[in-house]
């Protein structure tokens, strides 16, 4: 069942406001963008989380966390290509209509590569003895903060605390 138009419009407004507040931009092609948002809502119903509409999710959050929107690859893709993989988020140039968004290569490592690397969450935690508090890094946007636990929500890109990793110096 496709998500209702009202639901799509609501999420579109929410994401657009949040994006602009954090210095990000949604794709200005509203039809294309709302189609992606419909995909996010479909995945929310299927899996319980809004995984990237342009990637095949497994349905297991441990395997899919890096592709829950906004994905871990959005910011490096916007920096290199001006758009994220599915083109929901774009840079200023595309947002203002000076350039068109286009299909870009997949940055996410393959399943085999990811298994070999191990997810950053499984890395051994090392606490620097020089700092009174650990440093947490948002894996989506790179926001850093120094406190006992990561914030509930990233103040910049709004992802949840499960997207933070302990940053060791």
């Amino acid at each position: 069942m496709s998500p209702a138009q009202e639901q799509i419009d609501q999420l579109y407004s929410k994401l657009k406001t949040e994006a602009e507040e954090g210095g990000y931009h949604l794709n200005p092609d509203a039809t294309f963008t709302k189609n992606l948002i419909s995909g996010l809502l479909t995945n929310q119903t299927r899996f319980g989380y809004q995984s990237c509409p342009c990637r095949l999710a497994t349905g297991s959050i441990d395997d899919d966390l890096d592709i829950v929107c906004p994905c871990d690859y959005r910011d490096p893709d916007i920096a290199e290509f001006g758009t994220c993989y599915c083109a929901l988020y774009v840079n200023e140039e595309i947002s203002s209509g000076k350039k068109q968004a286009s299909s870009i290569p997949e940055r996410r490592p393959t399943k085999e590569q990811r298994q070999k690397q191990g997810t950053p969450n499984t890395q051994v935690e090392k606490r620097s003895t020089l700092l009174p508090y650990p440093i947490w890094r948002c894996k989506v946007c790179g926001y850093l903060c120094s406190r006992e636990t990561p914030p509930e929500k990233c103040p910049i890109c709004k992802v949840g605390k499960e997207r933070f990793e302990k940053y060791t110096i």
Partner: protein, 93 residues
């Protein structure tokens, strides 16, 4: 595998590995439809799990990163992502 055929002019065999939720997959389907070409596609996310894995393995022979859309032209070459000019070039149109 549940393949959908779209009727049109035959300018070569066109097969798309797609996701029903993907924007660039939709653009690819629309582009071929606008050209009035015959093509087939499978929405991998709508397949039953056993078929999904098998289809992804098959897709990897064309595109090892198994990203969407992957468009196989004449069972010979694959176009990865929405690249209308490349599709036209491979079809010779």
């Amino acid at each position: 595998m549940s393949v959908t055929h779209v009727a049109g002019e035959n300018k070569g065999t066109i097969f798309i590995y797609a996701l029903s939720t993907c924007g660039w997959c939709k653009k690819t389907k629309e582009f071929l439809k606008e050209l009035g070409l015959e093509y087939s596609y499978v929405d991998v996310d709508l397949l039953p799990e056993s078929e999904e894995d098998k289809t992804v393995e098959e897709m990897k022979t064309w595109n090892p990163t198994s990203s969407f859309p992957t468009i196989v032209i004449n069972n010979k070459k694959a176009v990865i992502g929405f690249q209308p000019d490349k599709i036209k070039e491979l079809l010779g149109i």
